[in-house]
Amino acid sequence: MVTLTLDGIKISVPDGTSVLDAARQCDISIPTLCHHPKLTPHGGCRLCIVEIKGMFRPVTSCTTPVSEGMEVATKSPALEKLRRTIIELILSDHPNDCMICEMAGDCTLQELAYFYGIRENRFEGERRIYAKKDGNPLIERDMEKCILCNKCVRVCDEIQGVKAIDVAYRGFKSKVCPPYERDLNCEFCGQCIRVCPTGALTGKNWALKGRQKDIKGIDTICPYCGCGCSLTLNVRKNEIVRVTSKEDTINEGWLCPKGTFGYHFVSSPDRLTKPLIRIAPKNSNKLQVTSYKLKNRKDFKDSSPLPTGQAGVTRPSSLFREASWDEAFDLIAKKFKGIKEKHGPDAIAGLSSARCTNEENYLFQKFIRAAVGTNNVDHCARL
């Protein structure tokens, strides 16, 4: 343990703790833009500077490890002046369009400008203008709003292990981009959107779906796979407009592309909500399922990604009729029993899904083994 003083408060923290973390442990707030607790410290925004006795210039608290007897001041007129200049400099190269920005109200930069009361800017000057937008289907990358905090680059490398983006160019022209400034073509996990402190990275399919204040967060578990990541459905007017995840969950707030972007099925008109019983004769094979390909971005904005009523697709309703759950279960039980009596239990096999939870899979094999009476049971993830 190392003992140090922060703004006169004595605190002991484990060796290797950063000054910033130590300060946060004693509820001292220090502004940051490029710091993320799960990423390696960057030291780029320079907002977290503090004065340490014996050092002749301010140092960034996010990158400086504590040492025994250190005396730190996190606030002083000189520090506040430097922080102010830094925020002014960032804003001097930032589009002044909070009114139409997706992140308004949720943006760290906006909050800093608010707390520092910055309206006029002494450093008005050239701003980075990028005509070309990224044509990928999922992530809006508005690099004019990027403050180069490098969080997206680090999360993509350190958490996702993909390294799809990095900083290109030097000086004022520095820019975060995929190789050769092509359109982003990555895993689309959305980790970068999650960590971006500004409106530079947002999801294309939640554009214009409402401000944060109108959104109700509903915690649930992701239905896609057995990992069971925690989701927070962002619901407005009974429609899921976005999916997020909290940091104190089993998945630490990170999600995969499906969890992040694949929520449209919930309100798809093609979704089956009731059991169907086949009415067409056994050999009529009229039901064709055309495979669906992403053609353009527009399809993504549509809340129902499956095209409906296209020529050549027969709607299920002409082959099936709706039924109640009781009726459907009775029918299944009857058919299973029939097969079992006629051909023995080994004529039946069960294959379950990776999208079920462990408990569901346990119940399933129990059902196949104990109720049906066969060991023919397997699981799609065991390939």
Partner: protein, 579 residues
């Protein structure tokens, strides 16, 4: 021949000598009785190509040698033994050298950098031999510490202390890196050392490796230095051939080899943590220190990074002793320093002087004063991280402490002489253009702050400066210096601050009177012909490449302002100087 000598036509001159000698029929005797060497940089670039002809132990030096002159030199001097007096160097060549003290450059320009034997002949590798066979690492470090050698890469940290800290850091693997990135505009010291005496750097690295316990070394050198890279490659191969590199060097048990890593020409990659990132294959961006490279450097292992000149000093210190080295220089700045003397000075070139030499002696005695007889205005030292020393302070001693006191730095050794035709606002703008373009973009004050400094300076040079701009420049400069991550941002505003400090009136003239006192800022000057004085000789018309000047013979000419590009060519040839 260094890069400069080659650009001046050194290779052609050498070819001409080969040709002329063989035509004269004395080729057969070349190998036997005489020999011809190409050597590294001789220092006095302004007089390139320089050729030494040694006959019977008597050395004659020719200046401005062109291939066409070779035939006469061969016939009259080589064959008849009568030096060609017309082309010999004059007094100034000797005064340029007399005031210098050469340690690092002592063999540069005298030995053939492409032959290891040439280096052996002047005592090369004897220092390494002494260290490996008779000194312990601790004893070696002690000698370096006692010599007072401080890093020549800019920061001036004690080399011995750096080595000692690294030696005392326990690790299975350590590295030594030679920093040959040299990105400052106007600097060519390190390039010349590697081109002129690459083995001295290698020998310094061997001694360093032994002292700190490293088995692997890197030379990080920019790809824009093809000749230096080529000579270094040759030197490494030759050193390996003689077992000065490789396994069990001199049967001392030391395994050590050196790899070359080419840099892509980013100034910031000279910063040690960015350099390490670049070797590791990352984008060359600095990181916060601590941890310092001596504790955790390349691949997380303890690493010593030293500048080329620092390392090239090492063999000489070991050979001649710490006391000998410490006898040069001042109390706190020991030894000599190589400077690249450029700008408006007569004898541009590479010089080496003891630390603490008065700036006046450097500029006037060695440099020969300003080149066009104009008045000296200032001397810029330390490149983009440095500042301008005004002519009033010309008596200042050039060492780490004295320069820092007046707001400049020794830096890596760039020294640019400015005369009264240099606009100080424009000079500051030039350096800011450089630092802004070379900022790695990592931190806000440097990335955006230097851009804003540059914008303010630009508008001042365009006559659009506002009341309060000088104060804004000063304020922003201080904030950038205080809050930037690495040395680049922390020093980038220095050219602005030092020019404001000593030449505030020039800034004010631009802002308040829309006037550029040095007549440099194009937006603030206009060329016109004084009709009363013009005799219509047409001299100005002939040099104007834009065809902006018109007029009949013997009648007053005039300049079309909309065509004139303000190059000043007409002003320079103007024959009727009236005041």
């Amino acid at each position: 021949m260094g890069t400069g000598g080659m650009a001046a036509g050194g290779s052609e001159v050498m070819e001409a000598f080969n040709r002329e000698i063989s035509e004269a029929g004395i080729e057969a005797s070349v190998e036997k009785f005489c020999s011809m060497h190409k050597v590294g940089c001789r220092g006095l670039c302004a007089k390139d190509v320089l050729v030494d002809v040694i006959v019977g132990g008597k050395k004659t030096t020719y200046q401005y040698t062109k291939p066409g002159m070779v035939s006469r030199i061969v016939k009259e001097h080589l064959i008849k033994g009568e030096p060609v007096a017309d082309w010999m160097v004059g007094e100034d060549y000797y005064s340029f050298h007399d005031k210098q003290t050469k340690v690092v450059l002592s063999d540069c320009g005298n030995i053939d950098p492409e032959k290891i034997e040439s280096y052996f002949a002047v005592g090369g590798y004897e220092a390494a031999k002494k260290v490996l066979t008779s000194l312990s690492p601790e004893q070696t470090i002690d000698i370096i510490k006692k010599s007072g050698l401080r890093g020549r890469g800019g920061a001036g940290f004690s080399t011995g202390t750096k080595w000692e800290i690294c030696r005392n850091t326990k690790a299975a693997q350590k590295y030594i890196i030679c920093n040959a990135d040299e990105g400052d505009p106007g600097a060519f010291m390190d390039r010349s050392v590697i081109e002129g005496n690459p083995h001295a750097v290698i020998e310094g690295m061997i001694i360093g490796a032994y002292s700190i316990g490293a088995t692997k070394g890197y030379v990080y050198i920019r790809a824009e230095y093809p000749l230096a890279v080529e000579r270094l490659r040759m030197a490494l191969a030759q050193a390996r051939g003689k077992n000065w590199l490789g396994k069990n060097i001199l049967r001392s048990g030391l395994d050590f080899d050196i790899k070359i890593k080419l840099g892509a020409g980013a100034f910031v990659c000279g910063e040690e943590t960015a350099l390490i990132a670049s070797i590791e294959g990352q984008r060359g961006m600095p990181r916060a220190k601590p941890p310092f490279p001596v504790h955790s450097g390349l691949w997380g292992k303890p690493t010593v990074i030293n500048n080329v000149e620092t390392l090239a000093n090492i063999p000489y210190i070991i050979r001649k002793g710490a006391d000998w080295f410490a006898s040069f220089g001042t109390e706190k700045s020991k030894g000599t320093k190589v400077f690249a003397l450029t700008g408006k000075v007569k004898n541009t070139g590479l010089i080496e002087v003891p630390m603490g030499m008065p700036l006046k002696e450097i500029v006037y005695d060695i440099g020969g004063g300003t080149n066009k007889g104009r008045t000296l205005k200032a001397v810029q030292t330390g490149g983009p991280s440095g500042g301008c020393i005004p002519s009033e302070l010309i008596d200042i001693n050039v060492d780490f402490e004295s320069l820092a006191k007046v707001g400049s730095i020794v830096g890596s050794g760039g020294m640019v002489v400015l005369d009264n035709t240099d606009c100080m606002v424009n000079i500051a703008k030039f350096f800011l253009e450089f630092t802004q373009a070379e900022s790695c973009g990592k931190c806000v004050p440097c990335r955006v702050g230097t851009k804003r400094l540059l914008e303010i300076l630009s508008r001042i040079t365009q006559g659009k400066g506002k009341e309060g701009d000088i104060e804004l420049l000063e304020d922003l400069s201080h904030d950038i210096k205080a809050s930037s991550l690495c040395g680049l941002g922390q020093t980038a505003p220095n050219p602005v601050l030092s020019t404001i400090r000593y030449f505030r009136n020039e800034y004010e003239a631009h802002i308040k009177e829309s006037r550029c006192p040095a007549a440099v800022c194009k937006d603030l000057i206009e060329y016109s012909i004084l009709a009363d004085f013009c005799k219509g000789c047409g001299a100005c018309m002939r040099v104007c490449s834009s065809k902006a000047i018109t007029g009949e013979k013997k009648k007053p000419h005039s300049i079309a302002a909309d065509v004139c590009v303000k190059c000043g060519a007409c002003y320079d040839v103007w024959v009727f100087k009236i005041w």
